[in-house]
């Protein structure tokens, strides 16, 4: 017993101050790629190397549209390596969670040159969408209800609906002494009957669809659904195929999306606290936006 105490006292307090203080993150960490759309002369290289199609090209005639979807991004950094003009930079941003899927999508319009590069930037469209307000209202209502009923504590049921287990590794880390999610009155519970929040990793496989739905239905109202990671948001690298249905919102109404591959524990913490209204959303700003 003495040895156990000695060991614990020796280790001291290791819990992070985040989110009370900014996260201390290595500058090697690959967070959100940031795009200088004015400077970006050729998006083809980025689209070519992107493993999940998070950067995609479209348009017709002399118009090129470039779509950047942080909900598909696996934060590999290849787009930055492939853009020698420094128009794409890897940042350490990780607080990307949002209540609205379309907030993760940017569409940019350029005038196309004959050689395939592009010149003039015509427009940058952020994803914010009025049609999404209904969804957001539902989420907000659920959050308000949870807040009213439960004060600020929260019980989470986690469901792996087909993930590679990478997201689970980081979700488990929320329980370690460093991130210690219980300090917020938040804990993971064994039964959906005890849960306020369903934290889902994906892609949702055909074989897990029913189990996911049953788990959701077993939860009492009000309830919040959070989709975790590129696969949970969009299907990620697996996308949609004969065995994968894609993102969680193909099956359930999702209140909050947490990008990452996998999202680091602070990003999960941020998304979970955002979902219960304990943190504001932090919109990112782009150049020329």
């Amino acid at each position: 017993m003495f040895k156990i105490l000695q060991k614990s006292i020796g280790a001291g307090i290791v819990t992070t101050a985040y989110p009370g203080a900014p996260a201390q993150i290595s500058n090697h960490f690959r967070g959100r790629p940031s795009f200088d759309f004015e400077k970006w002369k050729d998006a083809r290289t980025g689209a070519e190397v992107c493993p999940t199609g998070a950067i995609s090209l479209g348009g017709n005639g002399d118009v090129r549209t470039v779509t950047v979807d942080y909900g598909l991004c696996v934060f590999c950094g290849l787009c930055a390596e492939a853009s020698p003009d420094q128009a794409v930079r890897i940042t350490q941003d990780f607080e990307l969670a949002t209540a609205e899927r379309m907030n993760l999508v940017l569409t940019v319009e350029y005038t196309l040159n004959a050689d395939g590069t592009h010149r003039q930037l015509r427009a940058v469209n952020r994803g914010f969408r009025n049609a999404g307000e209904d969804v957001e209202n539902v989420g907000r209502k659920a959050r308000e209800k949870i807040h009213k009923l439960l004060g600020r504590s929260l019980s989470i049921r986690e469901v792996d609906a087909g993930s590679c287990n990478g997201c689970e590794v980081e979700i488990v880390a929320l329980n370690n002494p460093i991130y210690d999610i219980e300090r917020f009155g938040i804990h993971f519970v064994a039964s959906p009957r005890h849960a306020d929040m369903l934290l889902v990793t994906g892609p949702v496989t055909r074989n897990m669809e029913l189990a996911l739905l049953k788990t959701y239905r077993a939860m009492p109202e009000p309830k919040v659904v959070v989709a975790v990671g590129a696969c949970g948001i969009s299907g990620g690298i697996f996308g949609e195929n004969y065995a994968s249905l894609g993102g969680v919102d193909k099956v359930l109404p999702v209140d909050v999306y947490i990008p990452g591959c996998p999202p680091r524990p602070q990003a999960l913490l941020h998304g979970i606290l955002l979902a219960v209204g304990r943190l504001p959303e932090r919109p990112y700003h782009e150049h020329a936006g």
Partner: protein
């Protein structure tokens, strides 16, 4: 290359004459043989019984459009030989079947049934030919056949759900668990038959996370497929990524710069340590020693932070690439690596002293969840679980890759096969890994770290093996045109090892199932793909 280098080939040709023909080998440690007779039993039995070889894996390939036939590949290896022997067997003319080996070699039970489900080839003589990889309610489709488009939208499943074998008798109950479990783990269904507390029989239903991974490898260009390999099993991202890149490099016939090989070795060992220390804590946690888990998870976190500073990602993703690694380390990163490893070694020693000082922990773990060596051999168990049950296999030593030839390390093997010894294997391996990393980090990591990868011609085949932290990972590829793959076979060690869990829980109380399962800690996603 002399015949003497291939004693197995020589022995086979002496025994079977022109029934087996040698095929051009791409690399000298990867030998292909073509068997004429679709009945592979005699060859397999001769190799396993008389030549002391082990059947590593079996998989199929749809070559109907190119060669008019399906092929099965049987991969063998033998202790002391660094070669892998691949025996290619055609399906009989016009027939959609192959001869099952499961009755004789239970190790390939699931893998043969997977071929049935994915290719529609019938395993003749299989003792339990029920569906495994596609659930029973799936329509009659075979997704890995070339004429099945990957984006096929299947109708809602209306077939019969899986029927578990009933457990009958007075006082016998069935306890269904999953696919959604109580903890934060992957999905799978366990059906326990219990008489009172002890478990009589466990039935497993896996493949809940089947997401078409092998098929998807045929769709993605190779440079994108690297990231798919990293998502086969999240906690083994680097091992699977490296196994895939090795296969590509072997097919491209390029040499990877030594600096990159050393860096890969360091990262492979870091992945091993991260997972082992996490498992040691989790095993202690499952018998109520929560403080040990708190320290273990704190230590794991220090390694995750190191991972991020070395590769930009806590799970070591986005670092390995065909030809080498994407970035080289500066002096600061190398100092950080050495410093963190030294500090970790001290803390790890304390952690193990703490775990070993708890007699109640030892009492709960010893003689719990025993997998006997003879069972482990029959079932073809590999990796940590195998080594705790007398199976002396380690790809790093037996088929050296990356820079493992350079380093000396001990492969711990125990006979007891209980939870305690599965933990002990991990403890020993962490200590060996720390030694490997220390030696490797003293290597001058300078110069070239990424060889250019030329366009690879179609129809190059390559086998790659990596000792992931769980055990033997096998990737086999056939290249196709335009920077794509025709076929990518993935074998995670979990696929071999699930039957070991079934074996080990028998006679134990159901309350010990979590710790027994944790002591194997198999990957569901790696199994299901």
């Amino acid at each position: 290359m002399t015949e003497a280098m291939f004693p197995l080939v020589e022995a086979l040709q002496r025994k079977f004459g022109c029934q087996v023909q040698s095929m051009h080998a791409g690399r000298e440690d990867e030998i292909y043989l073509v068997a004429r007779d679709p009945d592979v039993r005699a060859i397999a039995e001769y190799l396993t019984d008389e030549c002391d070889a082990r059947l590593v894996t079996v998989f199929a390939e749809d070559r109907r459009s190119a060669e008019g036939v399906f092929f099965n590949y049987y991969v063998f290896e033998r202790r002391g030989d660094t070669q892998y022997l691949m025996v290619r067997v055609p399906a009989p003319e016009g027939g959609l079947e192959f001869t099952s080996l499961s009755a004789k070699l239970p190790a390939v039970n699931w893998q043969e049934r997977e071929i049935q489900d994915w290719f529609g080839l019938k395993a003749i003589g299989h003792p339990n030919p029920r569906k495994v990889a596609l659930h029973d309610n799936w329509p009659d489709v075979h997704p890995l056949c070339k004429d099945f488009p990957i984006d096929t939208v299947l109708p809602p499943f209306e077939g019969e759900r899986h029927l578990y074998r009933p457990a009958l008798g007075e006082g016998v109950f069935q306890v269904p668990v999953g696919p959604v479990h109580a903890g934060i783990i992957e999905p799978g269904h366990f059906s326990f038959a219990v008489a009172g507390e002890p478990i009589l029989y466990l039935q497993l239903r896996m493949f809940y996370t089947h997401k078409g991974t092998e098929k998807l490898f045929e769709k993605l260009p190779i440079h994108r497929a690297v990231f798919l390999a990293e998502s086969i099993s999240g906690d083994s991202s680097f091992s699977h990524g490296a196994a895939f890149c090795q296969a590509i490099e072997r097919a491209a016939r390029i040499e990877v710069p030594l600096t990159a090989l050393v860096m890969r070795t360091i990262l492979l060992e870091l992945e091993r340590i991260c997972n082992h220390v996490g498992d040691i804590g989790a095993i202690a946690n499952d018998v109520g020693f929560v403080v040990a888990n708190a320290h273990a998870s704190r230590l794991k976190e220090t390694l995750f932070e190191l991972n991020e500073r070395l590769t930009g990602n806590r799970l070591l993703r986005g670092m390995v690439c065909p030809g080498g690694v994407r970035r080289i380390w500066n002096d600061g990163q190398l100092d950080l690596l050495r410093g963190t490893i030294d500090a970790f070694a001290v803390e790890f020693r304390d952690l193990i002293a703490l775990v070993h000082s708890s007699e109640s922990t030892q009492d709960r773990l010893e003689r719990t969840g025993i997998l006997r060596p003879e069972k482990a051999k029959d079932l073809g168990i590999v990796g940590v679980a195998g080594r705790a049950s007398g199976i002396d296999l380690d790809v790093r030593r037996d088929h050296p890759y990356a820079a493992y030839r350079t380093y000396s390390f001990r492969v711990p093997v125990y006979q007891a096969g209980d939870v305690w010894h599965r933990m002990q294997v991990r403890i020993d391996e962490v200590n060996e890994s720390l030694g490997i990393i220390r030696t490797a980090a003293d290597h001058s990591l300078r110069g070239e770290f990424r060889a250019p990868v030329p366009a690879i011609p179609p129809d190059r085949c390559a086998l790659s093996a990596v000792e992931g932290w769980r055990g033997e990972i096998i990737h086999w590829i056939r290249t196709g045109p335009d920077n794509h793959l025709e076929r990518c076979k993935i074998k995670d060690p979990s696929l071999n090892n699930w039957p070991a869990v079934v074996e080990a829980v028998q006679g134990n109380i159901i309350a010990d199932f979590p710790v027994i399962n944790k002591s194997f800690n198999l990957s569901y996603s790696g199994t299901d793909r």
